[in-house]
């Protein structure tokens, strides 16, 4: 980890010194154990704030749209895919952003670590290869890193940055498993069971919109939940309103969602937000052969069509 941190710092220093960028968007150590957080570095003497470990989970591409400065961004696989989509949607100019690509071994879910250690409290954590060494007031424990990854990272098929200007560290082997086994399992349930499950999930929602705001692809100047003429959905935690909010949030990301999982990680009450998103990611792949954010050339699936697109759902009396 220290080596990656050093490499990122060196690249950032060089970019700032040569005035290639005005700001480097990366991660720094957070204010608590098991936390890293986004930071903005504008001066060469501040580059040592930059840091890299298994908790650099935020989707930094969220900070790119509307940014006037020329920026460099530390980009994991999912971040780079988000940048690709943003470039395609003309929210980011390719020549105004430099991607510092970091092949990512998956980010660690702090809540899993905390509950495995509970009720003991963790004061410090070190990360060495595939082990996490926790230290608390009266204990020290070694955990296997790969067992504590975020859900979104477990099913990640693109850990390497798909677009990068500088690369940190080495290319990782990409998994070739079917990432949608869970969606197929869910789909096999009855409609009643699926509805009940999602309703229970959505019932936890407090409508704080953290899922929306953490999403790198949610940049509309006016979100549909804020529209008042017409007002599509009510503002309260009424179960119908909340369900429609989650359905439409997911739907708006159809063909755009890069499966970074930022929505689910931001949710303070643990709603299974990605279920709907992933269903659409799978559908878009199955029906239109498109995966979001993989290259700059392919047209977005809902901005195009083929005459022989699926007709299977059309009623023929």
């Amino acid at each position: 980890m220290q080596q990656l941190t050093n490499e990122i710092r060196a690249i950032a220093r060089k970019l700032l010194r040569e005035k290639k960028v005005e700001v480097v968007i990366g991660f720094e150590r957070g204010s608590m154990p098991l936390r890293s957080r986004p930071c903005f570095i504008r001066k060469e003497e501040e580059v040592n704030r930059l840091f890299w470990d298994g908790f650099c989970e935020n989707a930094l591409a969220v900070y790119l749209p509307k940014r006037k400065e020329r920026a460099a961004i530390v980009a994991k696989g999912c971040d780079s895919r988000a940048v690709v989509e943003l470039i395609k949607e003309k929210q980011v100019q390719r020549d105004r952003v430099i991607l510092i690509g970091v092949p990512c071994r998956g980010m660690v879910d702090r809540s899993r670590i905390e509950s495995s250690a509970a009720p003991r409290r963790i004061l410090e954590m070190r990360e060495i290869e595939d082990t996490l060494i926790l230290r608390g007031t009266d204990f020290e424990e070694t955990l296997k890193r790969s067992e504590f990854l975020h859900e979104s990272c477990k099913t990640c098929t693109h850990p390497n940055p798909v677009l990068h200007d500088v690369l940190v560290s080495e290319w990782l082997e990409e998994k070739n498993e079917d990432p949608f086994a869970d969606i197929q399992t869910f789909d096999a349930l009855t409609a009643e069971e699926r509805w009940d499950y999602l309703n229970k999930e959505v019932d936890k929602c407090i409508r704080c919109y953290a899922c929306r705001n953490a999403c790198p692809l949610c940049y509309c100047p006016e979100c549909f939940v804020d529209a008042s003429l017409p007002q599509w959905i009510g503002k309260s935690i009424d179960s119908s309103d909340t369900m429609i909010f989650h359905l439409m949030r997911a739907y708006h990301l159809a063909g755009r969602c890069v499966s970074c999982g930022a929505c689910e990680r931001a949710c303070p009450v643990g709603v299974d937000i990605r279920k709907l998103n992933r269903k659409l990611v799978k559908d878009v792949k199955d029906l239109f052969g498109y995966e979001a954010g993989l290259n700059l050339e392919q047209t977005s699936p809902l901005a195009t069509f083929r005459p022989d697109d699926t007709e299977s759902f059309i009623v023929n009396p």
């Binding site: 957070g30 608590m32 986004p38 704080c208 919109y209 309260s236 935690i237 990680r265 303070p268 643990g270």
Partner: protein, 350 residues
Amino acid sequence: MIPGGYGLPPSSKILKKDRLPSFLERLLEERIVFAPVRRGEVILIREIHAPSEVVLEYENAKESPKSIFFPEREPLFRYRTEKGKVEVDIPPGRERSRVVFGIRPCDARGLLLLDKVLGGEYRDPYYFDKRAETLVVSLACDHPNPSCFCLSMGGGPCSPEGSDLLLLDLSDGYLAEAVSERGAALLEDPAFEKSDEESLAVAKKIKRESEVSMKPVAMKENLEEHLERVFDDPVWKDLTETCLGCGICTYLCPTCYCFDLCDEAAGSSGERIRVWDSCQFPLFTQQASGLNPRPTAKERFRQRIMHKFSYLPKSQAMLGCVGCGRCVTECPVNLDIREVVKSLSGGNGG
């Protein structure tokens, strides 16, 4: 109010842990009881129907208990128009009294701020209807979380403020201190036994250790005045740059009380509801003209800090933060209010 606070409580008893279920049973017979329960991975304060649902080995509930008094969605009245005649229907008052059992002292103290803001000249009947009929039994923190900072905000891990009864875990039982007359009445329950000098001494020691374990937040004297001076300081931009503009900090906060009113109509009848709102949302200050006086996350975040650390101390003589630490642990980008306060305290702008 019975004079309480620190030191030897004027009226305290012991509740042995094996007698807690019978106490809760009797509470349930007369009242609606809210208590910490486990829902999946998290602890929430919810209505309970059996003592076995209650979880008291917990740090703090994910959401603050303010929704018990100030719900996320609250009907204010229903209306119906028929042939030019308007009928308005107002929700009835609460029929059964309630008790909130086992919340943390920071959250109980947060209610005092809500009492001030929603009380006063324009008393909020919906809030006080629930507040007046609800007893608060809180559970002191013997091991405050590293994210907690109640002591620096004027409360404390074992503070009785806002509670009717304060419980302190002595491992085989709880020391129960009556803070109000209503709390003292609860001590009449047969589950409680007389306390002894030894338990009181242990309790005193636990309280002291708990307070000592908390890291103080570096906060300037007269911060409320100082903040006014640094209102235009460029530091705000740096402090808020990572803010995503979501409403987690305000929605989970035990003292944030901003709301919006909406009409939900269907044909000629409908309902006026009150829903939570957040100063972190652009729509909060968006005007019909198109102007938004708080156009970016910077202004909105500044409002949150100013409100909690400057405006409320001036208008209500109480900080708008009780140090529960929810915004610290739940912020998706770890924007830590303690660091913000520290940074503003050290700043020399203005």
